[in-house]
Every structure is written in C-alpha cells, then in structure tokens.
Symmetry: C2
Subunit: 304 residues, 2 copies
C-alpha cells in the first residue's frame, strides 16, 4: 500500500486563480483523508478524481477560514449523498460548537450522517478512525490560535518471507507460511516448532507523512515529521520576510527545510504560499538546507 | 447605465464540476452586488473579472449552505485586502448571530472592515446601501426556512431634453438646461419662469432585475418581478417532478415561467438546477409559457 499526496489548495489566507485555500488529500488504495478543508476543497477533490464516499476523515488544523471554510459545504454534500458511515472530523477546541451553530442556523445539512468530531486537547495524541487503515496522530503547533498538526501513516507491513529457507526448514507451502510471515511460530506435522527468526525479514515501516500548518518553526513539527516520507510544512513567506512571517504566526521555506532536516524527513513539501510569493523560488531558496523539496501545486500529485 | 447579470454558480444543493453553488453578480459600471454567496463565489467572481473592491453589497436569500457557505471566505478576503468602506450584507434573521459565532471562532477574519448586517424582517422592504447607486428591496419567499428574495434596480433616468424646443423657448444653452432636465423650472435673464413641461421627455425607468430563490411558486416572487427586465427564478426540477420540488420547497422551470408571465417580466433567467436535471431542456419546456427564457450557465454574462 502506498500513499499519494494531492494538494487541493496551496494558497495562504485567500484563494487565488491558481491556488485554492488550504487542503491536501492523503490517498491510498480505496480511501483517503483530507488535511484542512479551505473553501473549494470539495470541488478540487472532484477535479482530482477523488470519490467523496471514500473519505475516511477530515483533519482540521485550526479554525481560520482559509483552513475551515470548505468544511460546511463538504459535510452538506456528504449529507446529500446519503452517506451511511460516520465521518470523523478532528480539529482544535471550538470545532464542535462552531459546527453546532452552523447546524442550528440551517447551513450544514448533514441530514442523517453522523459527524464524529474529535477535538484535540493538550499535547494531542492518537486520532482514532474506526474502520480505517489510516493511523493518525496529532501534536499542537505554534500559531496565533489553537492549532494541531497531524501525522498520517499506513500500518507497518510484514517482513519478506525467505521461501528457500522455509523450504529448507521443512515448513510446507500453505497457511503456515502466512503465520510465520505474521511473526507467529508454527508447529509442523512432526511436532517441531519453528519460529519466524531467520526465515522472515524485518517488518517494513508503513509509509507516513506529516502535515504542519499553520505554525512558526516549532519542536512539535519536528516530532510529527520524524522519519516520515514527506513532511508537508507551511512556507508562507520567503526567508527575507522571516520577521513578518513570525509576527503573523508563520514560517519561511528555509525554516521549514530546517525542520525537515532536523526531523530527518525524506522529503519536504512546501505549501501555504502567500499570494505575494513565488512558490518555486521559495523552494529553490530552501534546497540549500534540505535536498528533496517540492513546492506544492494545486492538483499536482506527489507519490511517496 | 446598464445592468449585466453574471451567474457565478447555478447548481442546487451542492457544487458540481460544471456548476458552482448559488451566486449571481448584478453588475453596472464601476459597482456590483452579489445575490447569494455559495462556496466558491469569490473565485468565480475573480474568473469573471469582477473587482472585489467594487462590491457594494451581498444579498443572502437564506442560510442553507449552498447559498451561504462562500460568505465567510469572501468577507475574510475583503478583510485581508484592507477594505476601508463598510460592506452591506442583507439576509434573513439569524445571519448576525451566525457571523458573530464564526468571528468568535476565528473563522471570519474581517479585520477592521465594517460589515453592516441588515436582517430582513416580516414583509421585507428597502435595503439601504449607503453610497451605492443600486436600489434594493426585499420580499419574503416561501421556502423551508426564512428566505427573502430581492429586487435590484438602478435609478430612473431623466427624460430626454428637446433642445430645439428649449432654444425656441429662449432658454440659453448651459446650466439651466441641466435644471430643466432634472425637472426643475428655471428663471431666465428676462425674468420669465420656464418649466420642463413639453421641453423634457418622460423619465426613463432604470433597469431592474429580481432574484427569487429558493422558493415554491409564490405571490412575492410576482411582486418582486413586476415589470423587471429579468426575473432570476429558481428552477430546481423539471415539471414532471413538481411534487418533489414542492415537497422540498422548490419550483419547476414551468412554474417559474408562469411567475414571470404573471409579473410581466421582460425576460426570465432560470437557475439553481438540481445536478440531476438538464438546464437547457428545462428552459425549452418552460418556453411554452414565457417566450424569453435563458438557462443560466456559470460565467455566461447576460446583458439586460
């Protein structure tokens, strides 16, 4: 199982003609989660060919409009579609009350669909999405309002079975091999017990990504990004405007690269560009710090 | 001064790949008002080449998400742009409380911009937009929630001056003619008082449009549409599904045409199409009732 990232909106503050408001799809076979849901995210998802019915969860970093304003419409559309299974929506404190007020005002229209709001608290932690293969964790970031970043991963995979060795050890082909591969010892017909040691390679880490916006450079972003295949980090301004970035609770591309380097993230995806910056130039500037950097573009898929 | 209509979103319930959620720009030279503000309206406005700084007012019919969800983002963008003059937002009861809750949650971001919310009450009435040339009135429609339709017009124009006759009457060319044209009597150098009667033609009615969605067929829509150049009326379903339309608080295209005919509206623009109907076919069906019907398409301008 692989993860693909599809940026659905890469602009900061407001949508432009070329960049939508913040949203990013994390996609695996048959399912996806949405990180942030700026205005227009549901349309961008349709353009990307994503099926709304396969959406497992929405992870909202904070309630600023450019990260939240697409959520009511997305929930309304899922309600109209008659979605049966619950939808998990994780986000900061205040999310429940806001959705309730929208519902009371008649603006939500979720119909019979159950929305399971999981407000993140304190240092964050596991975000349980029942029935989903995605493993999600949250950590608090450092922005002007309560904000949580997320780590999204797929489960570790079993190690590779060395069939020449299992043959040599006398394990017959068939169901016993599946047990061995899963790490369990098996009992052969002659009574011998054979363990997986030496017959099965090490477990393979599932693919993982982290999503850190909006934030000034902070240790939690390093925690989230530790060893991931791709850290998606905000890069609102170029480094010459670092003071402005910090004043507004944001980071520069160079700072995002330092976070990625410290976290030993294999790749860095920059996003959340102020309409006043050139995303590609911002990525060029940051490559002195981290070699594998992509400036996100709307609907340009990034396979991990 | 002319009016142009630019549909920014013509879908019912949810945006699709070809139709955005409800929004329509009513445009004259240097200024415009926005009727409804579904998700994506601000982006559609940019695509249409409309300047957000020239927006005089937003008229929200009701708080269902497909008519409202684009408003928070639009207000946030205007706030980011540092808009100085106030923005009038007219709408149904509950609009103020909803915007206040969004503001408290941090989702609105209007900054220093003043938003003048005018909640319509009872039978509606004049919607005052200070400093704007647009003349706006509201009337309650008949939907599942409190809903107001709007009539948007430009002021009547002065009648045409008959210069041959003013010459013959001895009125000198110059500022006195402007007074006459404005309907005021003038005093000539020789002391004679000359009135506009016979020298100035009748006042010309300013262009006008009406906006009636969402609603079942109702007398208020006829009131709003009386003699307008174009009535924009919802047409969620084809006539074969009239019962479903009524059950959901909507109209069919044929019903909209009956309203337009009764109101003696010069033209009818159908919009708010269920994703399950073909707008063009729906307009064809309605043309038996009213000869001048357009099925609105996103971004296809309609000059009045």
């Amino acid at each position: 199982m692989r993860l693909n990232l599809i940026p659905l909106g890469t602009s900061a503050g407001r949508p432009t003609l070329s960049r939508g408001a913040s949203a990013l799809a994390v996609v695996t076979e048959g399912a996806w989660v949405l990180c942030d849901c700026g205005e227009g995210a549901q349309i961008a998802a349709l353009r990307a060919g994503l099926s709304l019915s396969r959406l497992d969860a929405v992870l909202i970093t904070h309630l600023h409009g450019d990260h939240f304003n697409g959520l009511p419409g997305l929930l309304g559309t899922l309600g109209l579609e008659g979605r049966q299974r619950p939808l998990v929506v994780a986000g900061p404190p205040g999310l429940t009350a806001l959705l309730q007020h929208l519902e009371r005002a008649g603006s939500l229209g979720t119909g019979d669909m159950e929305v399971r709001v999981l407000e993140q608290q304190g240092n964050g932690g596991e975000v349980r999405i029942e029935g989903s293969q995605f493993l999600v964790e949250s950590r608090p970031l450092a922005h002007r309002v309560p904000t949580y970043g997320f780590r999204v991963a797929l489960p570790d995979r079993a190690g590779t079975l060395d069939v020449a060795r299992t043959d040599a050890a006398g394990v017959p082909r068939g169901p016993l091999l599946a047990d061995l591969k899963a790490g369990r010892p098996v009992t052969l017909a002659d009574g011998r017990v054979v363990g997986p040691e030496g017959l099965v390679g090490p477990r393979q880490r599932g693919p993982a990504m982290a999503y850190a916006l909006d934030t000034v450079p902070c240790p939690s972003a390093v925690d989230l990004g530790r060893g991931v295949d791709a850290l998606v980090h905000e890069a609102t301004y170029e480094d010459a405007r670092a003071a402005l970035a910090h004043e507004r609770g944001h980071s520069t591309g160079v700072e995002a690269a330092r976070i990625a380097a410290e976290a030993e993230a294999a790749g860095l995806v920059l996003t959340h560009f102020s309409p006043s910056v050139d995303g590609a130039a911002l990525a060029d500037e940051a490559r002195a710090i981290h070699p594998r950097i992509i400036a996100a573009q709307d609907l340009a898929e990034i396979p991990l």
